[in-house]
Amino acid sequence: MKPQPVVVICTGYANMSNARQALMMRVHYLATKPVELDELKSNLARLIAIRANTKGTIKLAPPNSTNKTALIVHGDMTAVSSLQSAFVQNGITAIVPAPSYRALGITQHYFDVAVVSSRISEEGDGWSLGGVIRLVFPSSFVLMIAPGTDLMTLKNANQFTASTRCWRTPPLPSSRKHRPEQRSRRRKRPQPQKSASSRYLCRHARPRARLLSAHASKARFVSAHTFRRGNSGQIGSGFSR
């Protein structure tokens, strides 16, 4: 089968309906008329190059470059500059989107690491950005900077990183599927009586725990005080895969 071509849609009306339609068709690039030709040309060249490298499967993959690139999204410019200098000292190119909420707009680049503050313009808005970055760059490190490790912060870390990872979980192999005839041959052990709530937890919490443990090596969670110490070596050492 031949690899699929890069699909670019040009539409005259930049409305939600057209954008949704293009999204449903899974096009690679959506341009609105009047088309910005330089932008269209550069994006088309980029997508065709990715298509050639990946043999038709367009998927952002780490480039074969030894230069590492980091994305820093933080509302506080003092923190941004200290992070940026720490990265540069360790030989990593740091890119800071300005203003911060435009971070998703520059995801046509590949980032090896993304450092996102949980507070960009208001409390908690960085978590959703971190989740999306995690989806866009599945093999990159995503570090979230949070004010502390309280319950809500950990809950947010779990929701936004685990839920994005759930999309990528492969289905269970057929050998693990429910097979009643084999189960009936096993010796039945006496089970302690469980309450309704514990039965619910067993049924729903176990697959989640499996997901988390299977992907735990990819996840990184860094609280703000790690950076406040001002040790740039910590970022470099945490970066190695």
């Binding site: 089968m1 031949k2 690899p3 699929q4 071509p5 890069v6 699909v7 670019v8 849609i9 040009c10 539409t11 005259g12 009306y13 057209n18 339609q21 293009a22 068709m25 096009v27 008329k33 030709l37 269209l40 040309k41 088309l44 997508l47 065709i48 298509r51 050639a52």
Partner: protein, 74 residues
Amino acid sequence: MARKKSLLIVDDEVNVTRTLQMVFEDEGYSVTPAYSCAEALKIMKNGHNFDGVITDLNMEGTTSALLSPAALSR
């Protein structure tokens, strides 16, 4: 010598198609224009393997049929 990248440009507005054709030919692409979905489908059925397809969303005919995985991977 490197192979020229091939593009299929589909738009029912002739001016738009010709302008895009000129622009991308200047960039070194080999451009095939089509002025309707039916024409584009016919070209794709003939076995052309394009590197890229630039198409209008709102045209006479069904753009979704043109962009279906079956049509694109022919």
